[in-house]
């Protein structure tokens, strides 16, 4: 097992992990504030990926150029989803909320199946098959740019939450629901806003991911699960946690695949999830509840 091999694999794991992290970031923001288990998260990302393929096929738009229109569209979609469908469910028991989103997820996955069919769709751009050479390490160009997009988006989101008034209001909601109401914040609107922002993350992550992975309808549930694993490992309500969780999962799966058996990769992620849930349920960077 040469150093080059390990280095290549780790670098790829980190880059892919950052994109996963962005997807999880959206979930963390939603889960952390609205406290709703968005079981349709991965499905939304899949829709974003399909949207990118459609824009590419019809307008020849490179996925990175799709980011802006996709983000906008998804913001509106997420906002409306929360405001229209989910808000009335906030007070309902957990299993009801969960099933609501499962139903939404089922509709999404199968609508995609109806419209696009079961075979994989992909985007072919020239730089996709090229790589940067850093010594013996080959860095996949598309993966690099995808990770870059993820980091930039995460950064923008961080600054929004830290510096803007709206961002602070949302954080207040998350920290203390009752207090927020007392202070006069329109909690329902802020929830919708948050869902919109979470959806923006998903949109960007989707546009970035479609360069790395071919999209098929069953990707949705797989990504939903992945997003939850990352969020729990990284820490609920912690934005750096989501990115860290993503990188951790990306790298650990890569290493597990390298040293043990690639087909057992996902066992490690789930094993990690179980350990974290038991030993440090607030996640690596999360605050204790």
């Amino acid at each position: 097992m040469s150093f080059d091999l390990v280095a290549n694999v780790v670098v790829a794991g980190v880059l892919t992990g950052l994109v996963y992290g962005l997807m999880a970031l959206g979930l963390s923001v939603i889960f952390g504030v609205v406290r709703v288990v968005n079981f349709a998260h991965g499905e939304m990302m899949t829709i974003a990926m399909y949207a990118a393929t459609v824009l590419f096929a019809s307008l020849g738009l490179d996925p990175f150029l799709c980011i802006l229109p996709a983000a906008l569209a998804f913001f509106v979609f997420g906002y409306l989803l929360q405001a229209g469908l989910i808000n009335p469910f906030i007070t309902r028991p957990e299993h009801s909320q969960f099933m609501l989103l499962v139903a939404v997820a089922i509709i999404m996955v199968n609508a995609l199946l109806m419209v696009f069919g079961p075979s994989a769709r992909s985007i072919q751009v020239d730089y996709q098959l090229e790589s940067f050479e850093l010594g013996k390490v080959l860095v996949d160009k598309a993966r690099f740019f995808a990770a870059l997009a993820a980091v930039v988006t995460a950064g923008l989101l961080f600054s929004f939450f830290k510096f803007s008034l709206m961002g602070k209001a949302i954080r207040a909601c998350a920290d203390n629901h009752l207090g927020a109401l007392v202070v006069g914040l329109d909690v329902k609107k802020l929830y919708a806003l948050t869902f919109g922002l979470g959806s923006v993350c998903v949109a960007v992550a989707g546009c970035a991911m479609v360069l790395l992975v071919d999209v098929t309808p069953p990707l949705g549930p797989a990504y939903t699960l992945l997003a939850f694993v990352i969020v729990i490992v990284g820490g609920l309500g912690s934005m750096p946690g989501a990115l860290l969780g993503g990188v951790l999962i990306g790298v650990s799966e890569a290493l597990a695949g390298l040293f043990v058996a690639p087909s057992a990769k996902s066992m490690f992620s789930f094993g990690l999830l179980i350990l974290i849930l038991l030993l440090r349920p607030q996640g690596l960077l999360g605050k204790k509840a």
Partner: protein, 408 residues
């Protein structure tokens, strides 16, 4: 029953007996009802639809060839095993005399049980799990290779490939999907390869991967690091595409990508998505004989029903599905009855030499399995799956190593 009914029955029986030497009564009354059960939706949807094309052209071709009328009853089991079972029950209840299908081993096992229970013959078009014909079933027949046969033929063809191209690769890295099919193939390779002393290569590393994995970077890195001469691959469609791309990204150009028998690289989507990157991939799979008389007849019927398509992309799926229905129709012609038990007996006596797939005649052994079905070395050339071996059926000469091969 009273005297009147009794006399009436005698009269009817008498009339039937009088007319039967002319075959009038029976022939007019009956068509063979073939229940075609395929996964036309769900994750196997594309393949199921491909198989369906073979079924759809069958009634016309069979009427011409054998002069029998068959009626298709199509059912979609939605790539779900529970549904396969209930749909099979449904078809039988609605009068299917024989069942044909289903492409997937899990569904085949479920349907086989229903068929055995109800005493209705079930002719499997495509399913490789060896266990299906090891359960002692009396009504289940399979005109397809088991995973072991596929491996055996696949490995033999690899030997032929090296001979035909005068190459002697010494090492191979073996990658395979970790699912039902991949596992069966791996067992077969493990058992057969060591005994094939005429094959010059050894497997230096084995890498199994999750069929649902979207990212195969690690797997390909590992494979590349093994520094083998060529890649031996057991895959499915989506992962084959991902692997090929990843190989390009990681600048890994082995002598070739050879499958000892798995789907994926000869499917239409592989060509469409990869374009010229799909060139030269090799799959050793059960296939149809491009030179056979029946192939030409089927191809004509196929193009008539699917003018914008090519038979090559559906060779395996449509070919074997058509043959399964052919088996049923041929048995019906000999048995002259639609009674399922009689049909099952007739199927057991099948001996069809005029067929379209490669290999010996369609003849079932005591387990209901056809032995001696042939495979072809199918190479991707000019965006079409092309038979390059055996030479008698080939339409082009094999190319190995592929251009762009760089010794690491």
């Amino acid at each position: 029953m009273d005297r009147r009914t009794f006399s009436r029955n005698i009269a009817v029986a008498g009339a039937a007996a009088a007319l039967s030497p002319f075959g009038i009564v029976r022939a007019q009354a009956q068509k063979l009802k073939v229940g075609v059960i395929l996964p036309r939706s769900g994750y196997l949807g594309f393949i199921g639809q491909s198989c369906q094309k073979g079924a759809d052209l069958a009634p016309g071709v069979i009427k011409e060839m054998l002069g029998v009328d068959i009626e298709l009853m199509n059912a979609d089991f939605e790539s779900n095993v529970d549904t396969a079972r209930t749909r099979a029950e449904r078809l039988i209840q609605e009068g299917a005399n024989v069942l044909v299908g289903p492409f997937d081993s899990g569904a085949a096992a479920a349907i086989a049980q229903v068929a055995e229970q109800r005493g209705v013959p079930f002719v499997i078009n495509i399913a490789a799990a060896p266990q299906i014909t090891e359960q002692g079933y009396k009504y289940v027949f399979r005109n397809f290779q088991t995973a072991i046969d596929i491996v055996r033929n696949g490995l033999d063809l690899i030997g032929d490939l090296f001979q035909a191209t005068n190459t002697v690769p010494r090492t191979a890295v073996y990658m395979h999907v970790n699912d039902t099919f991949g596992q069966a193939m791996t067992k077969g390779i493990g058992a057969l390869l060591p005994r094939r002393t005429q094959l010059p290569f050894k497997i230096v590393d084995t890498i199994s991967y999750d069929p649902a994995a979207k990212d195969l970077t690690v797997e390909v890195s590992k494979a590349k690091a093994a520094n083998a001469d060529f890649l031996l691959l057991v895959c499915r469609l989506n992962d084959a595409i991902i692997l090929r791309r990843e190989m390009v990204k990681q600048r890994w150009n082995p002598m070739g990508i050879v499958s000892p028998g798995s789907p994926g690289m000869y499917e239409e989507q592989y060509f469409k998505t990869l374009g010229k990157l799909s060139e030269y991939s090799i799959s050793n799979v059960p296939w149809y004989n491009p030179a056979a008389k029946l192939t030409r007849i089927v191809e004509k019927a196929f193009l008539k029903q699917n003018p914008k398509d090519r038979l090559e992309f559906h060779g395996l799926n449509a070919g074997f599905t058509f043959e399964a229905i052919l088996v049923a129709a041929d048995a019906y012609k000999r048995a002259r009855s639609t009674d399922p038990k009689v049909l099952a007996e007739a199927i057991r006596q099948t001996n069809i030499t005029e067929k379209m797939t490669l290999g010996g005649p369609i003849k079932f052994n005591e387990k209901g399995q056809v032995e001696g079905i042939g495979s072809a070395c199918v190479q991707n050339r000019n965006l079409l799956p092309t038979v390059v071996l055996p030479a008698s059926a080939a339409t082009a000469k094999p190319v190995f190593p592929m251009p762009g091969y760089k010794k690491a």
